[in-house]
């Protein structure tokens, strides 16, 4: 008898059964299993907070968001949602992604107790850090540096903190109280705030001398120039005829745009262009179809616009025209005033190769679009005038000077709030590592056996996946016209659990211990979908990460019974039916691990 038998090694997806997974394999498995979290620049624990919402604890959900992405109320309204594009609900035909973003907002909308600042991780270090720029990146960096135990001074050129959140996004998408509340929460963790202080190269050099580190996070404030022909020898146009998008947004948010007259053209296809157009429609009282036109003119197709289909539909309802495949060429004036913009039409040239389709002008297709105010929202660039001569970017967020770091849009160029937050977190961690000489806080994968959920019970059923998503109640058009009211009103109390229970709760990991499994296939029989496979071979990469498998339907060829977490809906039926207790339910989460915490 050839005992003990030769067997294929028992495969594992995490390096430990429970405890800390510190290997590359753990990170890879986590990223594969929780795609929304992997897609989030700030690595938000999406299933973690959605589960809290589904179980009714919105405060806890807010806390998770506060920890991960700093601005739950803000991001819950205006995030660009890379997570939703990655959500597993997208992979099969189950009514679109989980409404991750709106759920985040719900947790902020329905707090039962006001949130408090997050506790620090380490005792005071005595290090002092200057952060320049009070936008999302600077605020995040400041909050995180405080938690590392450093003293932080935050410099802001304007009189109020908020940066792009305050200036770049219209209030009907992001109300002021929401921004203020979340900024106050950050400031309350002990940041020394200096508003109204403009930092120039000389002052930056001083700060470099006075502080242990300086973060430059001043964002992108200079409008990208658009070269347009003008009628030769025409006098300069009256002020306010051509406005950069961001300046317009700032003025609108400050209440300085009123009584906009005539036709407005907004050039651009990004979020700012859409925001400007929607703001114009309000400023010009065009929501209800008064005279004059507000148009967005964009070089490429709707597909390339930053706005989602739903938003495009909304803006059409707001009487905004969207014209795509048009490139501006020049200005047309009448009596010294702007009267139109000359455009040429483009066509899409589909290329056989994988490259983007080319956008080519159509000869002779020029036309003049009437325009009395032109808003150019084709993006912004960094204002580098505050950098002392010779200072240049280095590797990552470092520069060629050891004490100076770049973060946020100042480093990356035009982006969005969630990327700015990620930048803020990263720069704080980088600075701490440089100042303290070691990486004091690492994110490892914590793997927890869900023993208290011994029945593998999440409460989920297939029916939860197949529900229609919750609708987002919107303010009607007359309402929007009246008082610049927020358009999206937030989920109703009835809608919140609908949205939340759709989430597969991908942080739960059901897996089979193949040393216990007897291949009875009972789990396969009860499974709500093809989530459990007979597998003849598992394909691993150099780190031992299971990338793929070779499925079989012949028992004799089945080496393993394998749960495909990509298909698992976390119902726990398999765990309950397994007659030998081979299936475990674990929770995997990205957790900060501290060396010598306070």
């Amino acid at each position: 008898m050839n005992y003990p038998y030769c067997k294929a090694t028992n495969p594992t997806e995490y390096s430990v059964v429970e405890g800390l997974g510190e290997t590359a394999k753990d990170q890879k498995t986590l990223a594969k299993d929780i795609p929304c979290q992997a897609a989030c620049p700030a690595k938000t624990d999406v299933p973690g907070y959605i589960e809290q919402i589904a179980r009714g604890d919105l405060d806890a959900a807010y806390r998770i968001n506060q920890e991960c992405n700093v601005f739950p109320g803000v991001l819950g309204r205006i995030c660009t949602r890379p997570c939703e594009d990655a959500c597993r609900h997208h992979w099969t035909n189950t009514n679109g992604p989980v409404q991750i973003c709106h759920l985040k907002r719900s947790s902020a909308d329905h707090l039962s107790r006001p949130p408090t600042a997050l506790p620090g991780w380490f005792p005071k270090t005595g290090k002092r850090i200057a952060v320049i720029g009070g936008g999302p990146a600077g605020l995040t960096a400041a909050r995180e540096l405080i938690r590392y135990g450093h003293a932080v001074t935050l410099f802001e050129r304007r009189t109020t903190l908020g940066g792009m959140m305050l200036d770049g996004i219209p209030r009907f998408r992001l109300p002021l109280p929401t921004i203020k509340a979340e900024i106050a929460l950050i400031v309350s963790s002990g940041i020394d705030v200096r508003t109204g202080e403009c930092i120039d190269a000389a002052r930056l050099t001083e700060l470099e001398a006075d502080y242990d580190a300086v973060v430059v996070a001043t964002g992108t404030t200079l409008p990208r120039p658009l070269e347009l022909d003008r009628p030769t020898a025409s006098p300069p146009l009256p002020a306010g005829s051509i406005i950069p998008g961001l300046d317009f947004m700032k003025a609108y948010n400050d209440g300085q745009v009123t009584g906009l007259k005539g036709d407005v053209v907004v050039i651009g296809g990004g979020f700012t262009a859409v925001d400007c157009a929607r703001s114009c429609a309000r400023a010009a009282k065009r929501l209800l179809g008064d005279g004059g036109e507000v148009s967005i003119m964009y070089r490429r197709t709707e597909h390339h616009m930053a706005a989602e289909l739903e938003e495009l539909e909304e803006i059409r309802l707001e009487n905004i025209q969207v014209r795509t495949l048009v490139t501006p060429l020049g200005l047309v004036t009448e009596n010294g005033a702007l009267s139109g913009v000359r455009f040429i039409r483009n066509k899409v040239q589909e290329t056989a190769s994988t490259g983007k389709p080319a956008i080519l002008p159509i000869e002779g297709s020029e036309f003049v679009q009437p325009c009395h105010t032109l808003i150019v929202a084709i993006g912004q660039e960094q204002d580098r005038s505050l950098l002392p001569a010779g200072l240049t970017a280095g590797e990552g967020q470092k520069t060629n000077r050891p004490k100076i770091f770049f973060a946020g849009e100042f480093l990356t160029g035009s982006s969005d709030v969630i990327h700015a937050v990620a930048q803020g977190k990263a720069v704080a961690s980088e600075i701490d590592r440089v100042l303290m000489g070691v990486e004091r806080k690492k994110n490892h994968v914590t793997i927890e056996q869900m023993r208290h959920m011994g029945d593998g019970e999440t409460g989920r059923q297939r029916a939860h996946d197949l529900q229609s998503p919750a609708p987002m109640p919107l303010t009607d058009i007359p309402g929007r016209a009246r008082d610049n009211a927020e358009v999206e009103q937030g989920f109703t109390k009835e809608g919140i659990p609908v949205a939340a229970t759709r989430c597969y709760l991908c942080h739960y990991k059901y897996s089979i211990d193949n040393d216990l499994c007897i291949h009875c296939d009972w789990c396969i029989e009860v499974a709500p979908r093809a989530c459990i496979k007979k597998v003849s071979r598992l394909c691993t990469d150099a780190d031992g990460f299971i990338q793929d498998y070779v499925e079989t339907d012949v028992s004799a060829k089945a080496t393993f019974i394998h749960i495909d977490s990509d298909a698992c809906i976390r119902c726990g039926k398999c765990l309950r039916v397994c007659p030998v207790g081979a299936i475990t339910m674990r929770k995997a989460s990205l957790t900060p691990c501290l060396a010598n915490p306070s």
Binding site: Y5, E457, A463, V498, I518, T559, V580
Partner: protein
């Protein structure tokens, strides 16, 4: 699509059950197939899907393990007409047909009913057929005849519509004496006839069970007067109905309730149910006492044809692998008509007995049985192996139990093991559900697949030294072709180590499993 926004703690089965427990089989026959929901509720009618696509199993309930020869002929006829002529005996004394088309079911029910047979409550979350000692009337060690109690309990509980929807199945057995041949310690409820002084009654044990998590039943009452046993059983069923887990079906049997609440709390609740039902609890006792009945051996039934205390002869018929054709089954009924008490008795080792013979006629009947191709000796010995149907029919099975049965017959019949024939029994089950209770046998086998470098092969986990009150210990996991060698080593080791008259289980309990492991693995 509809909203379902709360996380719920209810199994899908409970949801289906909540929609009603009745089926129109004529309608199903017309349609030619059963829906998922109907398949579940079909179990209440004793119908189960087979491993073979399009085939169904139906289980005839045999309360107390006895049927009249008329009923037997009726069953044979149904098998012949609808079930390819095949009959299977179960370890709970029932008879199953395995080759039924869905279109045959309504006729089958009607035909069975003509002679008082039924499959109703053969499966499903109900009180299942109540089993009893095969020699209930005439065993020399019996304290009282438990058969009538088994039959009456079954009738009373099956007629209670408030017990139609239990969390899961509920198994009751009656044993005529503490030798426990009817396996009370592995049933939900085990009634063991006991003698206290001159008075006979029942000791009641609850919460035993096989399956993945096996439990030995615990003593609920040390003494219950005979006449109160039905009410006590009903109260236990009520406890189960109200406290069994309806979310996790794998953990809902009474054994889990007892393990969770503790026997003391269960007793209090049961007394409360009795009170609530207006039942008399006088005479119920849970203080231990010295049982005063006749001493009994380890395996009272390990005998062949015999004469019972009623002076009547018994011939046992060993049914190979528990499966037989309708013709010999009819022939056995005929023998019972001519020589016996016009009844056939089924046993929990998948055999049949003919009772009520004139002792002088025993050889004649034995001869007739031999002519039919059955053995009449070797009961409760190594040869008398019990294998569940395994992958032959059962959709849940992982291994081909009958192949192992055949392989092992060749081993245990070797002359070198002649001396220990009565010293060990073998149970083989195809999956952890343990329809053949492998953990209580001297040698137990539970089907599994064993992983190889690539792919997997059939095998069994082997346990040694089990009995009802102390389950077997794991020897190892073996591929099927290796098992004859394993058994050979185990039995040879047993011959070396045993003291005279010791069973394998007693030897394992005395010397431990290590010597056996050493013999097998070195």
């Amino acid at each position: 699509m509809q909203w379902k926004s709360n996380f719920e703690r209810q199994s899908e089965e409970e949801e289906i059950k909540a929609h009603g427990l009745t089926l129109d089989f004529d309608e199903i026959a017309r349609r030619g197939a059963m829906s998922k929901e109907e398949k579940l509720i079909g179990k209440w009618y004793g119908v189960y899907a087979s491993r073979h696509p399009g085939q169904h199993m139906a289980r005839v309930v045999i309360p107390g393990g006895v049927i009249s020869t008329t009923q037997a002929r009726n069953i044979a006829g149904v098998a012949e007409r609808h079930g390819q002529g095949r009959l299977n005996l179960t370890t709970r004394q029932a008879i199953q047909f395995h080759w039924l088309k869905v279109g045959a079911l309504p006729d089958l029910f009607r035909e069975l009913a003509e002679d008082g047979n039924t499959t109703f409550h053969g499966c499903g979350d109900v009180v299942r057929a109540v089993t009893a000692c095969p020699m209930a009337e005439s065993c020399p060690y019996k304290r009282l005849n438990v058969r009538p109690w088994a039959i009456r309990t079954q009738k009373a509980l099956n007629d209670s519509r408030d017990l139609d929807n239990l969390p899961r199945k509920f198994k009751i057995t009656f044993s005529g004496c503490p030798a426990a041949c009817a396996q009370p310690y592995m049933n939900c409820v085990g009634h063991i006839a006991v003698q206290r002084g001159s008075e006979c009654g029942f000791k009641v044990v609850i919460g035993g069970g096989m399956g993945w998590e096996a439990y030995v039943a615990q003593e609920l009452f040390s003494f219950v007067p005979e006449a109160r046993i039905i009410q006590v059983t009903r109260a236990i069923a009520l406890l189960y109905r109200d406290h069994g887990d309806r979310f996790n079906r794998q953990k809902s049997r009474l054994k889990f309730v007892v393990a969770r609440l503790g026997i003391e709390a269960c007793r209090q609740k049961i007394l409360a149910y009795l009170q609530q039902e207006g039942a008399d609890t006088a005479g119920l006792s849970w203080t231990p006492f010295e049982e005063s009945g006749r001493p009994f051996p380890d395996r009272p039934l390990a005998l062949d044809s015999t004469v019972g205390t009623d002076g009547r002869g018994i011939v046992r018929v060993m049914i190979h692998q528990g499966e037989l054709d309708h013709r010999p089954f009819r022939a056995l009924a005929e023998l019972a008509d001519i020589y016996g008490d016009q009844k056939l008795y089924t046993t929990n080792r998948q055999n049949i007995e003919i009772h009520g013979l004139e002792p002088a006629k025993i050889p004649e009947v034995e001869h007739a049985v031999h002519t039919l191709g059955f053995e009449t000796d070797g009961f409760y010995t190594l040869r008398d192996m019990v294998a569940c149907v395994g992958t032959t029919y059962c959709p849940k099975a992982v291994a081909t139990t009958r192949d192992l049965h055949a392989l092992l017959q060749a081993v245990v019949r070797k002359p070198e093991f002649a001396a220990i024939q009565k010293q060990a029994i073998i149970n083989i089950t195809g999956c952890p559900n343990s329809c053949s209770p492998y953990r209580i046998a001297d040698l137990g086998f539970r089907g599994m697949r064993i992983r190889e470098e690539t792919g997997s092969v059939e095998g069994f986990e082997c346990t040694l030294g089990g009995d009802q009150q102390k389950h077997g210990q794991k020897l190892g996991e073996f591929k099927t072709p290796d098992i004859p060698e394993v058994v050979h080593h185990v039995l040879t080791t047993f011959i070396h180590l045993r003291t005279p008259a010791e069973t394998l289980t007693r030897t394992v309990n005395r010397v431990g499993i290590a010597p056996f492991q050493k013999a097998v693995f070195s």
